[in-house]
């Protein structure tokens, strides 16, 4: 795992080139099966599939990067389907599961820098206290349209939770990649909307 990565994130932030099947001469080892959900091992010592992230590492990532307390996920389990794609599901389930989806896709761990999903941040991002950038409505509108824009942010480069005040309290909208003064919207195409008009 390489969640921390102090060096500069790449704008693509996408780990899709990261294969998960391991070296050919170790073919008898358990490998990631892209058709099944398999539960993340609790710790490194429990790991059987090479490169699979652990529950401990996922909890540590959300805690260290965003200040999300590990207890936030106390009633949830973490799963992998396809190398580098971590899902979060309520409760315990049997493993492995051959289903189309199990809970929400929460996190990509395939690339150099782990990246939370829009839906994961909207669901659990209320608990975030670090690396949360609060933007005004105009910047929020731009972000939700999928556009990049300037932002005032003195903190780390990398993936940030983007929030704006809705009905008086900050509401997490999704994930932005902050590099060199610019917030790059990571809202996926299917979730982008033109919110607004004069009043909306």
């Amino acid at each position: 795992m390489s969640a921390e990565g102090p060096d500069r994130p790449r704008p693509d932030g996408d780990g899709s080139t990261d294969g998960g099947d391991g070296p050919a001469d170790e073919a008898d080892r358990p490998v990631n099966d892209p058709q099944r959900f398999e539960r993340l091992p609790a710790t490194d010592a429990d790991r059987r599939v090479e490169d699979r992230p652990t529950r401990a590492a996922v909890l540590a990532y959300f805690d260290e990067r965003f200040g999300v307390p590990p207890a936030t996920f106390a009633d949830h389990t973490f799963w992998e389907k396809g190398a580098g794609s971590v899902w979060v599901a309520a409760g315990d389930a049997l493993t492995p599961l051959a289903v189309e989806a199990l809970g929400l896709r929460l996190l990509r761990t395939g690339g150099r820098h782990w990246k939370p999903t829009t839906d994961g941040v909207q669901r659990f991002g209320d608990a975030a206290t670090r690396n949360v950038v609060a933007v005004d409505r105009e910047a929020a509108r731009r972000f939700v349209r999928g556009e990049d824009g300037p932002v005032e942010w003195d903190g780390d480069w990398g993936y940030l939770v983007v929030a704006t005040a809705v009905a008086g309290d900050p509401a997490p909208l999704g994930v932005g990649l902050f590099i060199d003064g610019t917030l790059r919207s990571q809202v996926p195409k299917g979730r982008r909307r033109s919110l607004g008009g004069r009043q909306l």
Binding site: L102, R191, L200
Partner: protein, 302 residues
């Protein structure tokens, strides 16, 4: 043919029935309490200048004065989901309890599935299945936007649904919101009447009976199955119940329907049905100014 006319003998006030079917439906949304609350979602609507009125029978259902709720902040945030009032009834009649195991046999595009997840407190396990590969993306997108984590999505024919991925453990409750002729949606989609035919209704009835039978089989004794459609056709409603009751260990039971409704009909075009079909409820459009629905609740096992 005059599709609505064939149901007039079943209706108390045919003129009111006709008139209701011709009116467009009000636009309603359900507040998603997995990500928000009625208080916060309505405050967000107030802030954006969208007017709302809560349904008298359910504070989580709001009638909006916009026809583009998808362009509002609370919608983007997954605090609201477009759902017609009458379509909220089947999940309420199924009444899942937090932590239970629930199967939604025909789940796409996910309005009722996400409502079931909400009623489960987003805990326990919801299995949201659909036979149509083309409809799964909409189902998944809705569950994702609404922040549902308790659902497993499966793709398959509900008539042959396998419990194998779930260690053979049966469900506490199952919703069968069956594919149907859909006349009850006429206020949203008037063209639905043009597609009606007796032969397609007969084909749908076979499919519906197969799904309902499997639903009862995969429910534990003491569990509950709800059978729902948005058709007025007795062939796809009471006749399906009548067929399945004779083949499975389940009985129709009375329930409290939150909307005004009439009992199931015990006969149609010369056929008579098991008298217990009167426990089912027909929600005609003119009774509550909604779409049309049919809902039945079955108790599984002796």
């Amino acid at each position: 043919m005059d599709v609505l006319g064939r149901y007039e003998p079943l209706v108390d006030d045919p003129a009111a029935f006709r008139a209701a079917c011709e009116r467009p439906l009000p636009y309603t949304v359900r507040v998603n309490t997995i990500k928000s609350s009625v208080e916060r979602a309505t405050a967000a609507l107030d802030e954006t200048g969208v007017g709302w009125t809560a349904a008298a029978w359910n504070p989580r259902l709001l009638e909006l004065d916009t026809d583009a709720p998808g362009r509002t902040w609370p919608y983007f945030l997954g605090w609201l989901h477009g759902q017609e009032a009458v379509s909220a009834i089947p999940a309420l009649v199924l009444d899942p309890q937090p932590g239970e195991r629930v199967w939604d046999a025909c789940a796409a595009p996910g309005s009722k599935a996400s409502q079931l997840a909400e009623l489960l407190g987003d805990a326990g396990r919801l299995v949201a299945n659909d036979a149509s590969l083309g409809r799964l993306p909409a189902l998944r997108a809705n569950l994702d936007r609404l922040g549902v984590t308790c659902a497993a999505v499966t793709h398959g024919d509900a008539r042959t649904f396998s419990l194998a991925p779930f260690a053979g453990e049966r469900f506490d409750r199952v919703l069968v919101d069956a594919p149907c002729s859909g006349e009850g949606t006429v206020r949203k989609n008037p063209a639905v009447l043009d597609d009606w035919s007796a032969s397609s209704a007969a084909g749908l009835a076979d499919l519906q009976a197969g799904i309902l039978r499997r639903a009862v089989e995969v429910t534990r004794p003491g569990g509950v199955v709800v059978y729902a459609t948005c058709t007025f056709a007795p062939e796809e409603n009471e006749a399906v119940l009548d067929r399945v009751l004779g083949a499975v260990d389940a009985t129709l039971v009375p329930f409290d329907c939150p909307l005004a409704a009439e009992p199931g009909v015990t006969g149609w075009e010369g056929e008579t049905f098991d008298p217990s079909v009167r426990h089912a409820r027909r929600i005609w459009p003119h009774l509550n100014d909604t779409g049309g629905f049919f809902v039945a609740r079955l108790a599984v096992g002796s």
